[in-house]
């Protein structure tokens, strides 16, 4: 029952998501792209409904029951409708067999590695898994478990990052609802995420050309960081520890879910602008909101994408206002319950909203020295082996981003191609798609640079733990979209 209950997530998510997608006649796509987009949209919808349920104090069992029923009913209805009133046919996938096999192997490998081990990293266990268990056992997080940190006589409940979003914990709790909590099988909702990313990218590029769709999908799928950071930095150790260790992005963390949902939001918004489909725009808004449910950075990235929409609209040809409004109103509506919940949760650390002030940024840019690593003779755990005395935070952050952009072991050519795409977008600024994607990628990078300038953490220690690459992965989808759209052969006039 544990395995069945967990694996049930995917048909339910697909059914829910497929109902939200526009008809194929309006938004042409291949079966593969549709399956990826529908599954991701369903996952986002479950996260959004779950968060709304927490805000409205609806027991999680009811949320699980409602979404299961709706998802399975949708599967049945779609099957029935396909016989009675079929939609337009799927576009041919158009992939040579070796490439399809390559993508299949990557997808199966990622899913296998996700489930091969139980939760086995700090963030998935302590930040996400703990709150997943709270939802599983108590049906809500608005109880003593998170609200009781400030208890009687200063004795309270333990919780790391209590105000992290609830998307990952909710999906884990969903997977555990029927068969009980299992550190392995609660990861089932994340097993196909890596496989869905290229599908989402391809969907977004269908409007450009089939070659662009294939190219973008392969750029995303063959990016090592989707699976693991710093691949083969130490080949023997990398292979010995493969599937374990903090460098892996597969499993119960929040970075890959955010990256994939943000990619889908960008892809659907591009298609919505091209087709004028308000339904696709609303689905894009849901995907952005789903990303915001996975990590706090998702909310900031949605803000970046929204600002990019405003900026892109300042130049001709202007995007359709109704499409943009449908997207961002849906996103705001879906994110609102989370903001209501978050306002009730204790914020014990990482209050970037307060720290990201102009005065603070100027102070750091003006030459703030790096923070001390540990007080006194605290020992050497986490030590980087590099003395930071006298080093400036701005220099460390700039160097880290510079190193990452050209780190082929982690990104292949993805970031270099995206940077080249940004330059091409400047030259082809009249192309609204390129213009918007370049603003999203550039704005996202700028956002993360600002966050790291003001972070209260010791930056070299963050660097050792995979920052900024664990942030930059959130932009993998728009990078692939931008690079493929910029480099794709342009139709002859």
């Amino acid at each position: 029952m544990t395995v069945f209950g967990a694996l049930l997530f995917w048909p339910v998510a697909w059914g829910l998501g497929r109902m939200l997608l526009p008809a194929r006649a309006l938004l042409p796509r291949s079966l593969w792209e549709e399956a990826c987009a529908a599954s991701l949209l369903g996952a986002a919808l479950i996260a959004v409904i779950g968060t709304a349920g927490v805000a409205a104090r609806v027991p999680f069992a009811a949320i699980h029951g409602l979404t299961s029923f709706a998802g399975l009913a949708a599967c049945g209805w779609l099957a029935w409708r396909r016989r009675r009133a079929p939609d337009a046919p799927w576009l041919p996938l158009g992939w040579p067999l070796p490439l399809a096999l390559l993508l299949g192997a990557l997808a199966l490998g990622a899913a296998g590695l996700t489930l091969a081990m139980p939760l086995n990293e700090t963030d998935p266990l302590l930040h996400f898994g703990y709150r997943g268990k709270i939802i599983h056992y108590h049906s809500t997080v608005l109880n003593d478990a998170l609200l009781g940190m400030h208890g009687p006589l200063d004795y309270g409940r333990i919780a790391t990052h209590p105000n992290y979003p609830l998307g990952v914990p909710l999906l884990e709790a969903w997977a555990a609802q029927l068969g009980g909590w299992s550190d392995r099988w609660v990861q089932a909702p994340f097993a196909w995420l890596a496989a869905c990313l290229p599908g989402a990218v391809a969907l977004g590029l269908r409007g450009v050309s089939p070659a662009a769709a294939r190219g973008g999908a392969l750029l995303a799928a063959c990016t090592p960081m989707i699976y693991v950071a710093n691949l083969y930095a130490d080949p023997a150790q990398d292979l010995a520890r493969a599937g374990m260790g903090g460098a892996m992005n597969l499993g119960g963390g929040g970075d890959l879910p955010l990256a994939v949902l943000f990619a889908l939001g960008c892809a659907l918004l591009l298609r919505a602008h091209a087709s004028g489909s308000l339904r696709a725009a609303a689905a894009a808004g849901l995907a952005f909101a789903g990303g915001a449910m996975m990590k706090n950075e998702g909310l900031a990235l949605a803000g970046v994408a929204f600002l990019a929409t405003l900026l892109a609209a300042a130049l001709p040809p202007r995007p359709r206002l109704r499409v943009a409004a449908a997207c961002w109103l849906t996103a705001a509506l879906c994110i609102a319950p989370w903001l209501l919940v978050r306002a009730q949760l204790p914020a014990i650390d990482e209050n970037y909203g307060a720290q990201l002030s102009a005065a603070r940024v100027l102070e750091v840019l003006g030459g703030m020295e790096e923070l001390p690593h540990m007080p006194g003779d605290a020992g050497d755990e986490g030590a980087t082996g590099v003395s930071t005395a006298g080093l400036l935070r701005r220099d460390l952050v700039a160097r880290a981003f510079g190193e990452e952009l050209v780190d082929l072991r982690t990104w292949g050519l993805l970031w270099l191609a995206a940077l080249a795409g940004m330059i091409l977008a400047l030259r082809r600024w009249r192309d609204p798609q390129l213009r918007w994607l370049a603003l999203v990628v550039g704005g996202g990078l700028l956002l993360y640079a600002l966050i790291l300038l003001v972070t209260p953490w010791h930056f070299p220690s963050l660097r050792e733990k995979g920052i900024p690459e664990r942030l930059m992965i959130h932009l993998a989808g728009p990078c692939a979209l931008l690079a493929a759209a910029a480099f794709a052969p342009r139709p002859k006039p």
Partner: protein, 311 residues
């Protein structure tokens, strides 16, 4: 054309990714699809740094040390011999015959016969009851069960939650404490280190959920590392163990080191008792802060029993 070349170049990465995936899946299958500590590897043994801690556990007259392991251990051997310690060394085989009359046993190489020797036999022939593990992989629980105190000197590369003693303790608490119960965590001595690995309460909080774990000022203890450093300072300054009565109990649940100085069993302060009452805690988890998880440092007891020590 440009896109095609770009994609071809990017696809070179796919070969590396697939090899990495195959290695991960193969290793997971070999390990029974459960994470194993061994795959995380080991840092080189800190032979020079281990001299002082070992000397601190030897009699003032010198004593006798048996070092198990090959490799570059000259700084350790010379450092000990320079202070008059008699050093024996065994590079392979059963350590028990060579351990007769030895004060401190040092595991310096991760060979199976050194990591998991017959600790009961060793306990019978060792003069002192101390084992130093420089590899971070020795079977600490088996040593404890044989009445030997193990001191880990090294920086484990494996994550804290894979510690076998921690896992055994989690199972012990799960078996005794109902899921709806509350547990009060209280340190019994000062924190001597602020290393984040000593935050065992975070891992216990996850593993024991839905049981409710309560700690003093958790908003600092659970925060980022600089907040945790502040918490350690605050705990050490508040020193809730001041004036406590330390009690040696004979029925400790998991450890067999009944005479150890590391027993955390102590009476509670009036504030701790009142906090337990208000929280509704029926259980107390007493611990001596340590970067390693040792059964001897932890004890779970019913609140009523601990409260009697305070009367």
């Amino acid at each position: 054309m440009a896109l095609a070349w770009l994609v071809r170049a990017q696809m070179v990465c796919a070969a590396g990714i697939l090899i990495w995936m195959a290695a991960g899946l193969g290793a997971a299958a070999r390990d029974g699809f459960e994470p194993g500590r061994e795959r995380y590897g080991q840092l080189p043994v800190d032979a020079a740094g281990a001299v002082a801690p070992i000397l601190s556990r030897l009699p003032p007259s010198g004593g006798r040390v048996l070092i198990l392991g090959a490799g570059e251990l000259a700084p350790l051997i010379e450092g000990l011999e320079a202070t008059g310690v008699e050093v024996r060394r065994l590079t392979t085989g059963d350590p028990a015959p060579a351990a007769s009359g030895v004060d401190v046993l040092v595991v310096a190489e991760a060979r199976p016969e050194f990591l998991r020797p017959d600790f009961a036999r060793l306990a019978g022939v060792l003069r002192g009851k101390i084992v130093f593990d420089l590899t971070t992989f020795a079977d600490e629980g088996a040593a404890d069960a044989a009445g030997l105190e193990m001191v880990v000197y090294g920086r484990p590369q494996w994550p804290a939650w894979l510690d076998p003693e921690y896992r055994a303790f989690v199972e012990h608490v799960r078996a005794r404490v109902p899921e709806d119960a509350a547990i009060l965590l209280v340190p019994s001595t000062a924190y001597l280190s602020v290393l984040p690995r000593s935050r065992w309460f975070l891992h216990l909080n996850y593993a024991l959920s839905p049981r409710r774990l309560h700690l003093w000022r958790p908003e600092l203890a659970s925060g980022y590392v600089m907040q945790y450093f502040s918490w350690v300072e605050a705990v050490n300054a508040a020193a809730p163990w001041t004036g406590a009565k330390y009690v040696r109990i004979k029925d400790r649940a998991l450890t067999r080191l009944l005479e150890s100085e590391s027993a955390p069993t102590r009476s509670l302060s009036a504030v701790e008792i009142e906090a337990a009452r208000r929280i509704g805690a029926e259980w107390v988890l007493l611990f001596n802060p340590n970067t390693g998880f040792r059964l001897v440092d932890w004890e779970l007891l019913p609140l009523d029993r601990v409260r009697r020590w305070s009367e």
